[in-house]
Amino acid sequence: MGSTMLAQENDFRNLGTRITRLLRSRGVLIGLVLIIIVASIVEPAFLTASNVLNILRQASALGIVCLGVTFVMMTGGMDLSVGSVLSLCSVVAVSFMNKYGQAPGSNGTALMAFLAVIVIGFAVGIVNGSIITILKGRLGETFIITYGMEIVVASLALLYTRGQFVPGTFGTGLYEKAGMGFTPIICFLFLALVMHVVLAYTGFGKQISFIGANMDCARMSGLKVGQLRVITYGICGVCAGIASVIVSSRVYSASPLQGTGYELDAIAAVMVGGTSQSGGTGGILNTILGVLVLGVLGNALNVLGVDANAQLLFRGAIILIAVGLDMWNTIALHKEAAR
């Protein structure tokens, strides 16, 4: 009798631990599901096909930026320049389209514009990466260098348009389609798939994670740490460039301030997903989750009619809760491993 009681109690305790473990390791996912359930009960319009598509379309531009930022954060770095890279790329691309792509169906010009944004993004990334590599910079240095670059690139974008807003006057075609319908979502998912495979299954990806986990160790193991970091920042810049096409196509215009705030949003989403700031752990799947959480939360609050100002309170709280859960999980796992 007593032993069955004890067994039951043990079961209970096991169930308790299991629930706690589930909560702390999958807390963000559970939170996402909860937000969706609550929002769709309170406001049925939330879970309609058009709204879901809308959320995904809105999330994909930020998502693409986040993919690149994930790479950089996996190496234990930080890239604050993505916001202004996005601004610069969009004003250059839209001005280019306006000048040479007036005729409907000007796909060739659009391809040129795509090439241009990729080159610009890559170039800024390479400059970031090279400076950081020369300095053998840690997190703090990557932060300050990319912040400097953010200011420089933002003023280049402003100089390029003389501070003017650039309305789109280009014709129909690839560029105009890039932000419509399913294109942004497909583009995001495709890039996410490619980058997930690269990060999780290739030597390059594993080397990146190794650098983030322990840079000195990686260097002593013979990895070309500098080269790898430069490439990583380049990839991050390219992602911001690609996102700029989607953003500027969606709003059919470009502004030199288009990307303001993207860098912090991207870092927040990546961290909410669970990629740690010290590098080495996390991945693209985590980032997709983080992007979805922030995107769904924003949309749900809009649909529920929460004031845009008050939304900031929720946003900040979600960031803190998600990262707190992640930290709790890490500490608990360490304790379990030590036992």
Partner: protein
């Protein structure tokens, strides 16, 4: 120290040690030739006022960075202080109560940041990113996004007061700077701050309550944001969520330019003040030369990157030469 003989410092190294001072001097001399009116007293006073308000926050940032932490939320805390102070002042008409309550609110916000960072062990960058968003939201909800202003005569008098040619702002900054410098250099608290940032595990083993040190550093930051907010209100007699959006990163820049290493454990507030002076002088000089705002930012960014590169190169040389 081979052979027990102390190596003489070479002139070049002495020069490199004082990068900021040399740059600052260079700028001022250059400006004196290009635009002699740059050195007029009224312009210098303008520069000092700007240095004072941002410098108060930058001093706090220096302590935090020495401690190995970081605060992005200062811009939001600064906005909140302005808005709260004006609201209190308009409601109570009592200067003393408003100041005390604003500083207390800053203290509370700082303690919250500190507790989240030390208790929940969340990285300070992301913690303060979260609290920055939340406090900004609070400000916007509180004011509805509108500007708030005050017509209190006392605050107006303070803002325009002249103490032997020095403004009220500069005096407050000097007091803050003196208190913090003495605290860092000569008290046990200050030494523990350096120890915590230098090597947290060793500091912990040596019996230092590192969590307390960090929380204290965050609370000092909070109070200083309160002071800076009040100073801005004294200058503009208005408060808005538009003022000070670039505060956090400018303060980090000033700290780094002043030679405080981002990895923590070294640095001081006086050098940060010099760094802030350099940034403001550069900025004002560019305005004076009639450059467009875009070029000003371009130059600001490039100078930031160059100074950090230069500083790291110098400190690496020094480590190698030991």
């Amino acid at each position: 120290m081979k052979g027990g003989k102390r190596r003489e410092a070479r002139p070049l190294e002495l020069f490199l040690d004082q990068t900021v001072v040399v740059l600052l001097g260079g700028f001022v001399v250059l400006m004196a030739f290009a635009k002699p009116s740059f050195l007029e007293w009224s312009n210098l006073q303008n520069i000092l006022t700007d240095v004072s308000i941002y410098g108060v926050v930058a001093s706090g940032m220096t302590i935090l960075i020495i401690c190995g932490e970081f605060d992005l939320s200062v811009s939001s805390q600064y906005m909140w202080a302005q808005i709260l102070f004006i609201t209190l002042l308009n409601a109570t008409n009592n200067m003393f109560v408003s100041v005390i309550l604003t500083l207390c609110s800053g203290l509370v916000l700082g303690i919250i940041n500190g507790i989240i960072v030390t208790r929940f062990r969340i990285n300070s960058f992301i913690t303060t990113l979260g609290t920055m968003t939340m406090i900004r939201g609070l400000c916007l909800v509180f004011t509805g996004g509108k500007m708030v202003s005050t017509q209190n005569p006392l605050i107006k008098a303070l803002g325009t007061a002249d103490f032997f040619g020095l403004s009220f702002f500069f005096l407050v900054f000097i007091v803050v700077l003196a208190v913090l410098s003495v605290m860092l250099a000569y008290t046990n608290f200050g030494r523990r701050v350096y120890a915590t940032g230098g090597n947290i595990e060793v500091a912990h083993l040596a019996g230092i309550n590192t969590a307390f040190q960090k929380t204290a550093a965050f609370s000092i930051m909070g109070v200083l944001c309160g002071i800076a907010g009040i100073l801005l209100v004294a200058q503009l007699r208005a408060g808005s969520t538009q003022y000070g959006t670039d505060l956090a990163l400018t303060c980090v820049a000033a700290t780094v330019i002043g030679g405080t290493r981002l990895s923590g454990g070294a640095g001081n507030t006086l050098r940060t003040a010099l760094g802030m002076l350099l940034i403001v002088v550069l900025y004002k000089a560019l305005i004076y030369l009639g450059l467009q705002a875009y070029y000003q930012n371009l130059v600001k960014g490039i100078v930031l990157i160059l100074v950090v590169m230069f500083d790291l190169a110098v400190s690496k040389r020094r480590v190698l030469s030991r």
